[in-house]
């Protein structure tokens, strides 16, 4: 029993590591306004546990690295009620990359589904 749950955990971790960049890019691609880390975390919380198998702290390094790769841009703005917040928005290059990623994701998902449904 113990063994099978640790296998599941490992699998979930790997899945989330592979998809978290896509999900973050997609969330920022759909949003009209720039969003800050906490807001994105809450948005994903609403969607369900599936997207982020791990903890929300995993978001921030990914956001930063997407920014370093030029797919996101960010700026800090002071807020009225709380601490200063770093707002992220998607760049033009980010949109192009997102488009390619969505295609790759769809292809992967379709072929995995086909295998799981015994279509092979």
């Amino acid at each position: 029993m113990e063994d099978s749950s640790s296998h599941l955990k490992k699998f979930q971790k790997e899945l989330s590591a592979g998809t978290v960049s896509l999900v973050l890019l997609a969330v920022l691609g759909q949003s009209r306004q720039p969003m800050y880390g906490y807001q994105i975390a809450k948005r994903l919380e609403d969607v369900g546990e599936g997207v982020l198998a791990g903890k929300q702290s995993a978001l921030y390094p990914v956001l930063r690295n997407l920014e370093a790769a030029g797919l996101l841009a960010s700026e800090v703005e002071p807020s009225v009620s709380g601490p200063p917040r770093r707002y992220y928005r998607i760049t033009k290059q980010g949109r192009e990359v997102l488009h390619d990623w969505v295609e790759a994701w769809t292809a992967t998902r379709d072929s995995v589904d086909a295998v799981l449904q015994g279509g092979v």
């Binding site: 880390g37 906490y38 903890k55 929300q56 702290s57 390094p61 009620s81 709380g82």
Partner: protein, 305 residues
């Protein structure tokens, strides 16, 4: 470890859990955690800090979990997003010429050329700021001026960190130290500027950049121009032989003589070797400089923020 009850406690535990990791990574991890925790606290001001933290441990992660995630992510994502390192070459010759395929050598070369300009700027900024702060301190505007100046020093420290990371490939913080000023009075905040060792090491770095910049720039330009000139000797000789240009021949007389071609070719080969040796040299200097920049510009971990 017992559950953290305040944000400061949480951050302290996170810092302890990240002990031994890259200082730049720790600074980023602490920044992210503090931003998230403060946002969570602002979301529902009625809730007490301890309740909020109990909730956060299940969503954001306990300090040890967060530390693991950051260690993991850093390795994975850097591998995925970074330019792959140049293939390792076995032979000594391959290693010697392989430097041209290393993007770091070229980055370091441009950093060395740029360092004269940035060095002059940092030095001027630091010296002007310090002397104006000191001389204005007899007047009432001295203190605000000094605070403003130290603020720009922090911003420049982050900027130089970005330059160093891009060109020299040394991991530097991407976020400033989080302004942990909550609950402190104005004078305590001002005091923090002066007691922070980081401020003074940054100033020292800025002053040091002038002599270093001059040294880097001179060495690089000298070696670069000598090697390029050596490489160009056959061209010069060919032009001279073809009477396109007439050289005033003193020393080295062989350059104008219609014979002595082997010597010109040899000089050219020496030039090529020197060019690659120069690339090795700047890459080495870049590595040293990166290590130094890291020790002076990144806050020492464990020191109270």
């Amino acid at each position: 470890m017992n559950a953290p009850r305040t944000i400061a406690e949480y951050l302290k535990q996170l810092r302890a859990a990240l002990k031994g990791a890259d200082p730049a990574l720790i600074q980023d991890a602490l920044y992210d955690a503090e931003e998230h925790l403060r946002a969570e606290l602002a979301e529902d001001p009625q809730r007490s800090e301890a309740d909020m933290l109990a909730h956060v441990v299940s969503t954001y992660g306990a300090p040890e979990e967060v530390a693991d995630i950051y260690r993991d992510q850093e390795i994975k994502i850097q591998r995925a997003l970074r330019v792959p390192p140049p293939p390792k070459r076995r032979s000594a010759l391959g290693r010697f010429f392989g430097v041209a395929a290393d993007s770091r050598a070229w980055g370091a070369l441009f950093y060395m050329l740029l360092s004269l300009a940035t060095g002059i700027f940092y030095f001027t900024w630091a010296v002007t700021g310090i002397s104006l702060s000191l001389s204005l301190s007899v007047l009432i505007i001295g203190i605000p001026f000094m605070i403003l100046f130290l603020g720009t020093v922090r911003a420049l420290s982050l900027l130089e960190g970005r330059i160093v990371e891009t060109m020299l490939g040394v991991r530097m913080p991407r976020r400033p130290p989080y302004p942990s000023n909550a609950g402190k009075s104005f004078w305590q905040r001002v005091g923090a500027f002066f007691t922070d060792v980081h401020t003074w090491t940054t100033l020292f770095y800025m002053v040091l950049m002038l002599p270093l910049g001059i040294l880097y720039f001179t060495l690089t330009v000298t070696f670069l121009s000598i090697s390029l000139a050596f490489i160009a000797t056959p061209v010069l000789k060919a032009l001279s032989v073809a009477d396109v240009i007439s050289l005033q021949c003193g020393y080295p007389y062989w350059l104008c003589d219609n014979n002595y071609w082997p010597l010109a070719v040899l000089t050219c080969i020496a030039g090529v070797f020197m060019l690659f040796a120069t690339l090795h040299m700047v890459r080495g200097m870049g590595k040293l400089h990166g290590a130094m920049a890291k020790s002076l510009l990144v806050r020492i971990v464990g020191e109270d923020a």
